[in-house]
Symmetry: C2
């Protein structure tokens, strides 16, 4: 089993490899990739070793090729139709974040239950729909991923509607546990855990 931390680092290597291509570096060493990604070259080599041989010893990695190989490992060479439910502050920040589409996630629908928001047009021509339309829209558009950015007390009902429509993956930002059938892949995002991890690292630094 490959550590989740490795998967998340691979994701950040994609962004670095894109920047390296923009800055005209067709071939790079793990040292250079490490410099761009703020990760040690040894960690990069270790992460890649889970998936086979990459690059040529003594020469380095082909930047464009490595990016394509990592995208294939992560399953990003497909298109993942995605929807956001709960178009509040967090939902809106995610809807406007253009990096998602570079990784193959195309946000094709958005839902909310506030009458004043329903019918609003967002960037990219998406029109906010009422939550009563979740099931049909998910089915009709073959949406595979749902992102929940509603208040905690609404999250379970929204998850049920997304699952009923045929969603396969859920990213939940609401601070509550949602129950989904076994075949659905569910991940909970916690920015609080990012802060806690930062506090832990700062406390460790003080001790040394």
């Amino acid at each position: 089993k490959i550590p989740e931390a490795t998967i998340k680092r691979l994701s950040t290597y994609i962004n670095c490899l894109e920047r390296l291509q923009v800055e005209k570096h067709p071939v790079i060493s793990s040292e250079m990739l490490g410099e761009y990604c703020q990760v040690s070259p040894a960690q990069i080599r270790k992460d890649l070793s889970y998936f086979g041989e990459f690059g040529v010893r003594g020469v380095g990695y082909d930047t464009k090729k490595l990016e394509a190989e990592i995208k294939e490992i992560l399953g990003l060479n497909y298109n993942w139709p995605t929807t956001v439910v709960g178009v509040g502050k967090l939902g809106l920040a995610l809807l406007n974040f253009t990096l998602f589409s570079q990784h193959g996630f195309s946000i094709t629908a958005a839902f909310d239950n506030e009458p004043g928001k329903i019918g609003t047009e967002l960037a990219g021509g998406i029109i906010i729909q009422p939550t009563s339309a979740i099931e049909d829209t998910v089915r009709d558009r073959g949406i595979l991923i749902g992102v929940i950015t509603t208040p905690a007390d609404a999250a379970q009902k929204v998850a049920d509607q997304l699952v009923a429509g045929g969603i396969q993956g859920l990213l939940n930002f609401a601070p509550t546990k949602v129950k989904v059938p076994e075949e659905i892949t569910l991940r909970n995002v916690s920015i609080t855990s990012e802060l806690d991890n930062l506090a832990y690292l700062m406390t460790q630094k003080k001790k040394t």
Copy 2:
């Protein structure tokens, strides 16, 4: 070295333990904690084993005591004065998220460079200040953590101002690498990596 994934799971155990106390469960098993946290009991026991012995074999864990012990491991039994720079959609969502304060992060200042936002009062009585005031305010209030939610091109300058004021830790949401001195603890947050991880897990499930 303790895996970062373990630290982030410990963080989520705190929220579960708080809910268990609200629902009047003074003593719990790792099975029950696992049910609440959507983590296997074996993973919980493994995570805790990095830090010593917890609970009583055959009896279980004291819910309140375990929460306090985990908070101490993560360094959350202190108060961490925090500031947010860039009060846009993401910044505002973080400023309004009450769970941070339960983990000891008290947001005591917010900064932006848009004239129309400066002077606005936010929840909790925080008044948005101009970025020119970052260094003095961080120093005067002993702010230890900075959260960067500005556009990417502003992130480095903001990081420099926070470091000059005496910040010790930085949480960067802008999709760019910022350089900070060795003694500063920097973590980059990528919600894209959460989606990539979800896509990877969904692709793996299809293969099995």
